[in-house]
Subunit: 149 residues, 2 copies
């Protein structure tokens, strides 16, 4: 017992940071709980396979960004701050990562637009916009579902 469990793997095009993935795992668990049910860090850690001490830190960031709410003491724990369908992935990513991805040039140029594009601008914009659309349109209500959209 006390099996190490699957930590984040390293060195690969990952799309999401390890921390963001951890946040989504925990939120996915909370999304299927009864509304208002408080779940402790230790339980979330067990269900998600995320290191408990680190998960605690991630959850705190989500609380400070009003994605989660928390209560202390007996019967305490974490719960979603709103119904699952009103928590968008983009909010989660902003909370744990702070993603200024929207206007970032793949060439590192301070200004890069369709008017003054860098060589990578078109292909990079294509990928970036797709990702942002996904992050903005996906909510916690979409987890654990057969993907209808």
């Amino acid at each position: 017992m006390a099996r190490p469990l699957p930590q984040v793997s390293t060195h690969s095009s990952r799309l999401l940071t390890g921390t963001a993935e951890y946040a989504l795992r925990a939120l996915a668990e909370l999304a299927v709980c009864a509304p208002g049910e408080m779940v402790r860090t230790v339980d979330l850690a067990k269900r998600t396979g995320v290191p408990e001490a680190y998960l605690a830190k991630v959850l705190r960031r989500l609380v400070s960004h009003d994605v989660l709410r928390a209560t202390k003491g007996h019967g305490g724990g974490f719960a979603l701050a709103r119904p699952p369908d009103r928590i968008r992935f983009v909010e989660v990513l902003e909370a744990v990562d702070s993603m200024p991805l929207a206007n970032r040039c793949a060439f590192g140029r301070p200004s890069c637009s369709s008017h003054d594009p860098c060589p990578l601008h078109p292909v990079w914009t294509q990928l970036k916009d797709t990702f942002l659309e996904w992050a903005r349109n996906t909510t916690l209500a979409d987890v654990g579902r057969p993907l209808v959209r």
Copy 2:
């Protein structure tokens, strides 16, 4: 002078690793050169804003993966190993990152499929497949173009 120039920014949902971004910058420059023209590391570094010493290391990885070819000595440098339209982004990412993204569960489960899905499986698959499609269908011939596809 000797201005630091825009290194990769940190802490954000990045989609690509810094190294992968560096590789694409350099390849984008080489893609618009005359076929067979050899470009030196120092010149690529200036044009792309990538630290020269590190870029040299990235370029070597691309050579060992047959994305680039290199020659030493006077008039030496790097050039694409093939025409731009035959170099897919996925090859580049595999060369510098080694991306086993294809079958990786966002919940860290050893096995996760549509038969035995984790809560995040549907939404995660959606994003992952979109990214892989982008990486496989985009080539160096697409850089610097108005994005027609």
